[in-house]
């Protein structure tokens, strides 16, 4: 069901020792898990590791051949809780989710898991995205690693290093009885590269076998009094053992010359950007040979003090390249140097930006500044020539080029929901609207401008709690089907029932978790061989005690959505009012149906393909339709008519004929310029006959009128 199929790519997961693997980062990670003899995998989707879940789902055949259990977990908390299988059993397990939101959700389970520790290697693969790749706020998983005392790996972003980090991570986890987190940035997840594969390993003990011989030990139970002991054990045994392991096995890397006036300490993930800047400064070549000493932290927590201090020996200063805020690593190193009384200066933030993604431009500036301040000049004379004077000025386009923010796709079934909501707002007055995580969050942006908060996945309705006592106008909240099953049923719907909320809750159901790429959830409509789908959201809502429930099974019916919303906002009924608005994600639907449709047309079957159009001479160019739509396919063109000042609406070939344009024009009483044209491919005989007959009569009428009047038709342009 996922929007992207890895069916072809996962075949590479079967290759063995000596063969070269070529592909994307996430696929390589999956391969590494199999090479490590992982016993079970799971997780919760979200960029950038959504595709990791898709790869696992598409690889189920290979997984089951190897005896590996795959769970599509209900949430990150559930995924982390699943790592409980590694607590008493020597089974390796891995789960994936997006950080920091995923880590936040997982943190309850994470704390419990970390306290008792593990027997088998337990790994959380966390996608952290910064900068333009970030769909969410930027926070550091690092803080969670520190507070729960679990180890954090941040490998260099190439497939060889990333797959090695998976192997190292499991060994480190087992050697220290501690779960580990493997952190990957979004570009590393999607980097295309190669590495030398190894043979896949069957897990030495499968989860199935483990069930036949259950084990338990109160030693690992995360509750007092055992937890008091864990607290000590974490710092007296596990931590020192981890530092030892890291140093013994060379998990961190020293590169470049040993001696130097200055050195760079960097997170593994920063390596490529740092190397590119050094190359530009003439201090490194393309193949990673640096003239500056580098200390690359593939493990960013815990830090190996002895390693760092030896790196500092004889150096005036080291620059810590640490993305994210606060600068935990820089602070820790600073305090190490201070305690030891070394003269080396530890620098970092200041040269580098306090927060946000470290982009190449910023890195170059930071490194050249740091190096210049410490008297290091570039080796390559070419690099020293002044340049800015001879660079021709590049025109400033900032006022011309418009921002291009993401929005609902062509034909998105959520667009009409928000068009209806906007109409309701225009009619009854503005409402307090709470949003939630998911595509529907685009409602916050123009043209809808609805809603102003999002407090977490599945927490839209819960975040209206304070307003739920009612007032002049009822509060409205949005929740998606993904968030609904993630935790919304209890945290949002149950919460509203218990507290006798007076609010209106709109559940946006698009048949699966559409925003993350179409992964299945309980209410997915497709039949699935290894999942139980088709469970009713309405049933669940009624089950927890909601009395007022309305289901809309075609969101494109703007009039109906508007009227249902109005009813929910005005009904005397008490308690939460839940509207479940369902239509399938158009992006995924098109992906699935388009090839089938083409095939059917080719096979001579009757197929109806709808498309919308605008009568350009009826359209007056006021763009009211666009202010209620925002469909990428609904665009504008200039007419070749000196009498018209403004461009008119026009529908391009991307139109999928969802119907929103017509429905909005109707519900908002806009204008009669929209028409829908259904192209009937391979029509039946009667259909053809009828079309011919009525066509002839129509043409006769048209000729009749044309004979009696003057018409002006543009000659066809060549």
């Amino acid at each position: 069901m996922a929007e992207r199929s890895f069916a072809r790519e996962v075949e590479q997961l079967r290759i063995g020792a000596g063969q070269e693997f070529r592909g994307e980062g996430i696929l390589a990670i999956t391969k590494a898990l199999l090479e490590c003899g992982v016993g079970y995998v799971g997780g919760y989707q979200g960029a950038p590791i959504s595709h990791l879940m898709d790869v696992l789902a598409d690889a189920q055949e290979i997984l089951s051949e190897l005896g590996v259990r795959f769970e599509a977990n209900a949430s990150e908390a559930a995924a982390t809780a699943m790592l409980a299988a590694s607590v008493h059993y020597p089974i390796r397990g891995a789960v994936a989710y997006k950080g920091p939101v995923g880590v936040n959700v997982a943190s309850d389970a994470l704390a419990n898991l970390a306290s008792g520790g593990v027997t088998g290697g337990a790994m959380m693969i966390v996608g952290e995205d910064y900068g333009e790749g970030s769909a969410i706020m930027q926070e550091r998983t690092h803080a969670f690693a520190m507070k729960s005392q679990v180890w954090l790996l941040d490998p260099r972003p190439n497939l060889r290093s990333m797959t090695k980090a998976v192997r190292d991570g499991f060994e480190l986890s087992e050697a220290t009885e501690t779960p580990v987190i493997l952190e990957l940035r979004i570009r590393a997840c999607h980097v295309h590269g190669a590495f030398e594969a190894r043979d896949n390993q069957r897990p030495p003990l499968s989860v199935k076998d483990a069930l036949s011989a259950p084990r338990r030990s109160t030693e690992r139970l995360a509750m007092p009094p055992f937890a008091f002991r864990h607290e000590q054990e974490k710092v007296s045994k596990r931590w020192p053992r981890a530092v030892e392991f890291i140093m013994e096995n060379g998990l961190n890397e020293f590169m470049g010359p040993k001696a130097g006036k200055v050195g760079l300490v960097l997170q593994g993930g920063m390596y490529n950007t740092v190397m590119r800047s050094l190359r530009r400064l003439g201090l490194a070549d393309l193949h990673g040979n640096s003239q500056i000493p580098l200390y690359v932290l593939n493990v960013t927590y815990p830090l190996a003090e002895a390693e760092f201090l030896s790196f500092c020996e004889g150096k005036d200063a080291v620059l810590v390249v640490e993305e994210g805020q606060p600068n935990y690593i820089e602070q820790a190193f600073g305090s190490m140097v201070h305690r030891k009384g070394l003269p080396t200066r530890v620098q970092g933030k200041g040269y580098l930006p306090m927060a946000g993604e470290y982009q190449p431009g910023e890195m170059l500036e930071a490194l050249s500044g740091f190096l210049a301040d410490h008297g290091v000049t570039p080796a390559d004379p070419r690099q020293r020539a002044p340049n800015d004077t001879q660079t021709p000025p590049v025109p400033d386009l900032s006022a011309t080029v418009p921002l291009r923010t993401p929005g609902f796709c062509v034909g998105c079934p959520e667009r009409p929901i928000f068009a209806a909501m906007k109409l309701v707002d225009q009619k009854i007055g503005p409402h307090q609207i709470a949003c939630d995580i998911g595509c529907h969050l685009f409602s916050i942006l123009p043209p809808f401008d609805l809603g102003g908060t999002t407090m977490g996945f599945g927490l839209g309705p819960a975040s209206n709690g304070a307003f739920d006592g009612g007032g002049e106008r009822r509060p409205i909240s949005i929740i998606g089907d993904g968030g609904f099953w993630h935790n919304g049923l209890a945290s949002s719907i149950g919460n509203a029932v218990l507290n006798q909320s007076d609010g209106v809750i709109v559940v946006v159901d698009n048949y699966y978790t559409a925003a993350t790429g179409g992964q299945d959830i309980l209410s997915s409509r497709a039949e699935h061989p290894t999942r139980n789908t088709n469970n009713s959201i309405a049933g669940a809502v009624k089950g927890v005690g909601v009395k007022w429930v309305r289901e809309i099974d075609r969101t494109y019916d703007v009039t109906k959505v508007r009227d249902t919303l109005t009813e929910a906002l005005t009904t005397p009924e008490t308690g939460p009012k839940v509207i479940i608005a369902s239509s399938e994600c158009m992006l995924n639907r098109q992906r699935r149906e388009k090839p089938l449709r083409h095939a059917a047309i080719g096979d001579g079957k009757r197929v109806v393909v709808p498309k919308f159009g605008v009568d350009e001479d009826v359209c007056t160019g006021d763009h009211a339709c666009m202010r209620l739509s925002g469909c990428p396919s609904l665009t504008m063109k200039t007419l070749d008519d000196p009498l018209r000042d403004d461009p008119v609406a026009s529908i391009d070939d991307g139109c999928v004929g969802c119907g929103n344009c017509g429905e909005v024009a109707d519900a908002a009483v806009l204008c009669p310029s929209f028409f829908q044209v259904d192209v009937v491919h391979n029509p039946g005989r009667f259909e053809r006959w009828y079309a011919r007959v009525s066509g002839r009569m129509i043409e006769a009428l048209q000729r009749r009128r044309a004979r009696k009047r003057l018409t002006f038709e543009k000659a066809e342009m060549a």
Partner: protein, 523 residues
């Protein structure tokens, strides 16, 4: 911390053969495929390559960047960057012209090294579309900047080239990239990548080839030649055509820019109603031109006559049900719909019109006296509204709905006796009188009065809002009349009315005018 200007040239270290390439696209354009192709081409031709991207946003219509680095395979593993750096991109491929502009803005396109391959077509952003007037960014400004910013520019409308070959823009982007010669690979290497993808290969190769040739020969990098728009042909019975010729000849008395506009206006008016209506238009425009001449219009490029020719035509051709029905039932329109649907000869079309008439529109269709009575009585009006006010889906390709629309379109003959015509005529006359009265006193104000007509457009509520804006602007004009900066205020009034969909902006401008106009009165 001190500031550190970059002391080092961004000169390219050619010795290792590194090539950096960024693809700037609009999500949904399929540039992930293009990225995969380029990587495959590089790897098949003795290079090591790495690509990276930030998907997710990509499908959802935002701006997105794919980044590729490649270097000759020497056996050693290169360290490739995952992000493009300002000043260090050798090749930028842009799927849309504003994205190319964004590449310049972000410093990826530099005159020292960057080959820029861009499509010049527009994918409008939402912010441009929401403006009630024309909010589109100026492509010409961007194109001029691209020429300065790139070391080598290949620019053409690849969306159109793709459409010409019934193919996809990615094929053209690859073709133009190959044709630009920026990558050290043979043409056949690029084509092999398209062949390997295995879908619609023939069309794809044609699109590729077209773009390749254009890139090589530099065609398409110049601004498109201005084509003379041919005058529309007049069709109809002999007698009417003769009358038309006589009527059109009367316009020859008009000075030059106004003559062309009036020609278009006359065609519109006659097409809308009939020759008599056309004569009314011609009389009014000719009279206006006389007044223009008297007011010294020649020195002002005949702005008044031209504005009159334009806006009077639009005012005469108000949008009513008759107009809509007439337009929707014409033969030419049927052909246009078939064209739009890209339907083959065998396919049958079913066309559905989305109409939503209200009591206002129905009242307008009634004989003047009856329409006036109903509109004056809230009870009758409410009753009528309850009867008619709902969405109507008409299958205009089928006989019953067609006949209904055809019949409505036929009401054209009695249009001038209907209530709506009375309303429109009165409004129009008042507006023209106002402009005419201002002309001898303040030429610019008179033109501004005519130009305000641009605000009246749309149907139902939108039309109502347009009328209100028009009224506000006329109020404002009346207040500033006679001031030295009146023209400037007129421009501001129009601007605020055209950029904001509701009345708030233009009312704000009016309030500002009131504040100082009021002061003047009391002073």
């Amino acid at each position: 911390m001190s500031e550190h200007p970059r002391d080092f040239t961004p000169a390219r270290s050619d010795d290792d053969g590194l090539i950096t390439l960024a693809i700037l696209a609009v999500g949904g354009q399929g540039c992930g495929q293009l990225t995969d192709w380029i990587v495959a081409i590089a790897e098949a031709n003795g290079y090591r390559a790495q690509s990276s991207s930030v998907p997710g946003v990509a499908q959802r219509t935002g701006a997105t960047i794919y980044y590729i680095e490649m270097a000759p395979d020497t056996g050693a593993e290169p360290v490739f960057s995952l992000m493009p750096a300002p000043g260090e991109v050798d090749i930028v491929v842009a799927g849309e012209i504003m994205e190319a502009g964004r590449g310049v803005e972000r410093g990826f396109v530099t005159p020292l090294r960057t080959t820029l391959v861009t499509s010049t077509h527009r994918v409008l952003t939402l912010s441009e579309k929401l403006v009630p007037g024309d909010g589109r960014a100026d492509s010409a400004v961007v194109l001029a900047a691209l020429e300065q910013a790139a070391s080598h520019l290949v620019a053409m409308d690849m969306e159109r080239v793709a459409a010409d070959h019934d193919s996809h823009i990615t094929n053209c982007l690859l073709g133009a990239l190959a044709g630009s010669g920026a990558l050290p690979f043979e043409r056949a290497a690029f084509e092999a990548a398209i062949r390997a993808s295995g879908r619609g290969v023939e069309a794809a190769l044609r699109a590729f080839s077209d773009a390749y040739e254009r890139a090589q020969s530099g065609i398409g990098t110049e601004a498109p030649a201005v084509t003379e728009t041919p005058e529309p042909d007049v069709a109809g019975p002999e007698r009417l055509r003769a009358e038309w010729a006589a009527l059109e000849a009367r316009l020859d008395a008009l000075p030059d820019p106004a003559r062309a506009m009036a020609g278009a206006g006359l065609r519109k008016v006659v097409d809308y109603q009939d020759l008599r209506y056309g004569a009314l238009y011609a009389d009014c425009v000719l009279r206006g031109a006389e007044a223009d001449r008297a007011a010294g219009g020649e020195a002002r490029g005949w702005a008044y006559s031209t504005a009159l020719a334009k806006h009077l035509a639009n005012a005469l051709c108000y949008d009513d049900i008759i107009r809509v029905a007439d337009l929707k039932t014409r033969g030419a329109r049927f052909a246009r719909v078939r064209d739009h649907a890209k339907a083959g000869g065998e396919a049958v079309l079913a066309v559905t019109e989305y109409m939503h008439p209200r009591a206002e529109e129905i009242c307008g269709l009634l004989p003047a006296r009856l329409g006036r009575r109903i509109e004056a009585s809230p009870r009758l009006f409410g009753m009528l509204d309850r009867m008619v006010n709902r969405g109507r889906r008409l299958r205009s390709g089928r006989l019953p709905a067609f006949v209904l629309l055809y019949g409505l379109g036929g009401l054209r003959r009695v249009r001038r006796k209907l209530w709506r015509d009375r309303v429109e005529s009165a409004h129009r006359e008042a507006w023209l009188a106002l402009a005419e009265a201002r002309l001898p006193r303040d030429y610019a104000m008179a033109v501004a009065t005519l130009d305000a007509r641009r605000l009246i457009k749309g149907y139902s509520d939108t039309h109502g809002r347009g009328l209100s804006k028009f009224d506000v602007v006329l109020d404002g004009l009346a207040l500033v009349e006679g001031r030295a900066d009146a023209a400037d205020w007129a421009r501001r009034l129009m601007e605020s009315a055209l950029t904001s969909p509701d009345l708030s902006a233009v009312e704000g401008t009016l309030a500002t005018i009131r504040s100082f106009a009021g002061e003047k009165e009391t002073a």
